[in-house]
């Protein structure tokens, strides 16, 4: 905690211990008042912007929501322009499935990559790897989507088939096909999309985790080594507890990215409108991909319906992040780094 913050933060206002008798607010100069004003102003602007996003989506999506009513949450088809029903009952589960698959792959890989860079890699390799992860983050999602569609998918579906054949007892891997599982039913699936999306999540997670791990207090680290700890011991008892906020924060950023990933999913999936447990076989969907695919062919009412879907996606990501950020704020890494 910085000294600047303590003077004004509300939780310390009632603190009447002798150290806080002198209130620095009195000595604040004109420049400082402008500085604080500008900084607060940009903060408030962010609030307004966030409110505007929700507000405009609600405003423009209201027409569609009024027509659909509760059916918006319970209908699984999407035919607003044909006068039919439309809802997110199937698209939403697909979106979550893709994100979960992505995180399942990305978080362990990102965690070990971050640890590898900060703790294990030789000095020269560390610099190269850091640059490569930054580069991995810089590669556009569109490129991953193209690579996934043309290169990875034809190779990945053999793995999908193997999982369906040998691990079919897991409900997510069970593929119901009366003609036997053939390779043709595995492309454009939730699993393939999830794997591609994980590539986009990894660098984001790694960058945050690495940043935090590299700031672990050297005193404690050396202390653990001096006590005879192995490298893994240092990681387990110093680095990981210290970096917990970074791990959660990084995964959270990753989840946000995975839920809203549009282009890669749009390129991979073939749209499906019936929710299912199985992630391996053809047909998946996501709210973001739905918007991207339907936008150009929609009428005013259809766009209103898409706005409503966008609002739903917006609210979901909002809730996920509100929950996650309360966890993170309890373990703000680096707050205790003092010299």
């Amino acid at each position: 905690m910085s000294v600047i913050g303590q003077s004004t933060s509300p939780d310390l206002a009632g603190d009447s211990s002798p150290e806080h008798v002198v209130d620095p607010v009195v000595r604040r100069s004109g420049v400082d008042r402008i500085f604080r004003g500008v900084a607060s102003g940009s903060g408030i602007l962010t609030f307004i912007l966030m409110g505007l996003i929700g507000g405009f989506l609600l405003l423009k999506g209201y027409d569609a929501l009024k027509v659909a009513g509760w059916g918006f949450l319970t209908d699984s088809e999407w035919a607003p322009d044909q006068g039919g029903k439309f809802g997110i009952a199937a698209i939403l589960p697909f979106t979550v499935q893709i994100a979960v698959v992505a995180l399942f792959i990305a978080v362990p890989v990102a965690l070990s990559t971050a640890l590898f860079i900060t703790e294990y890699a030789p000095r020269k390799l560390r610099r190269v790897l850091t640059a490569m992860i930054d580069l991995l983050a810089a590669v556009p999602s569109l490129i991953y989507g193209l690579w996934g569609l043309f290169y990875l998918q034809p190779r990945l579906i053999t793995l999908s088939k193997w999982m369906a054949d040998h691990m079919g007892w897991v409900p997510f891997f069970h593929v119901d096909d009366q003609y036997g599982t053939s390779l043709g039913i595995f492309p454009s699936s939730t699993f393939v999309s999830g794997v591609i999306v994980s590539l986009m999540v990894i660098p984001i997670c790694t960058a945050v985790m690495r940043e935090v791990f590299s700031q672990a207090p050297p005193g404690e680290r050396e202390g653990a080594m001096a006590l005879g700890g192995t490298r893994w011991g240092v990681v387990r008892d110093v680095i990981l507890p210290f970096g917990r906020g970074g791990i959660i924060g990084g995964s959270m950023l990753g989840l946000g990215r995975a839920l809203g990933e549009t282009i890669a999913v749009t390129l991979i999936i073939s749209p499906a409108f019936t929710a299912k447990w199985s992630i391996l076989d053809q047909g998946s969907n996501s709210i973001a991909a739905l918007i991207a695919l339907k936008f150009s062919e929609s009428s005013t009412f259809g766009i209103s319906a898409l706005m409503a879907a966008g609002l739903a996606l917006f609210i979901i990501t909002l809730l996920v992040n509100a929950a996650a950020s309360t966890v993170v704020s309890k373990s703000r890494s680096g707050a205790s780094t003092e010299i």
Partner: protein, 378 residues
Amino acid sequence: MTSALNTTPNTNGEIKISTEERIKIRDIEIVDVIVMVGSAVSALALSYFFFQILLPVSGALGFLVCWYIFFNIISTVAVWELRGAVKAKDHLARIFIWTGGMAAVIPLILVLAYVIGKGYHSLRPQFFTQDQKFVGALSESTEGGGAHAIVGTLEQVGIASLISVPLGITTAVYLNEVKGRLTKPLRMIIDAMSAVPSIVAGLFIYAAWILALGNQQTGLAGSLALAVLFLPTVTRTSEVVLRLVPGGLREASLALGGTEWRTTSRVVLPTAKSGLVTAVILGVARVIGETAPLILTVGGAFVMNANPLSGKQDALPYFVFRLIRFPQEAQVQRAWTGALVLVILVLVLFVIARAIGGRGPDNISRLKKRRLKRKGLA
């Protein structure tokens, strides 16, 4: 920070311990090598036995996975026998973390190699100078270019950065330096905003800027959508960086009579400079290849439109996204060329950004050193 652990005995050889032989911290004994090689060979044999003979499956990947699992088990057991449980756990963790580190890099190499391999055939200078004005659906893939898309992307990302970088860093300063009643809710809002899906940002600009305010689809609309995405990324990462600036530095500055503005501008921000540049890179990285919001906002065009304020504009990612779905081979080839240019653009930006500020705070550039020498400071 990490130097203490990595100091190898030979780098500070001038320190001599006279009485006893030095203890080497990182010493690879011959036994360790034998254990590793032995485990690798026996894992190979075992996986050959299980995979090729017992199981009716085949495939290089499956074999590799099989070998990996056996290698882990065998070598861990061997280390356990030789050195005990603590060392064995350390060994296993080491293998997993090395694997994870490699697992993140391999896709990058594959992706870059694939895009370069697909795109370089039809990459000609005119890709940077011509648009698609005289290109028909059946033209050769080497005809025409993506100049209109490149210009569009540069303008859109430039305008978005002009809006978001100052605003984002100022907000981060508010969160970490100024603080106030809004800090906690604002932090939550920024966290939430960082997860605003790119397509939602596009929808928002479409609803607010185009539908409600009656503007057309322009490059500016695209920039606004990109700015919405850019802002939280910059703010979040900048805030993480600012938080890691030691509180002692701030206290020292304030104790010397520095104002809050001086403390922030002269102590906190310079200390965090390299981190802030990384924050901006991450932000640019997220927006430069963003396609989804542009689908809704820029409109797309096949001819040059350098004015972001009026008329439909194209963007490189959108150009690629549209052309890759064409049935004609030449159009798909053009999309791959566009993808390659996008990757090159990202690489160039990346190298520039690293050259400017990818160093630690204690690292003084050659130029600055010379300047300091002139002043007689160093």
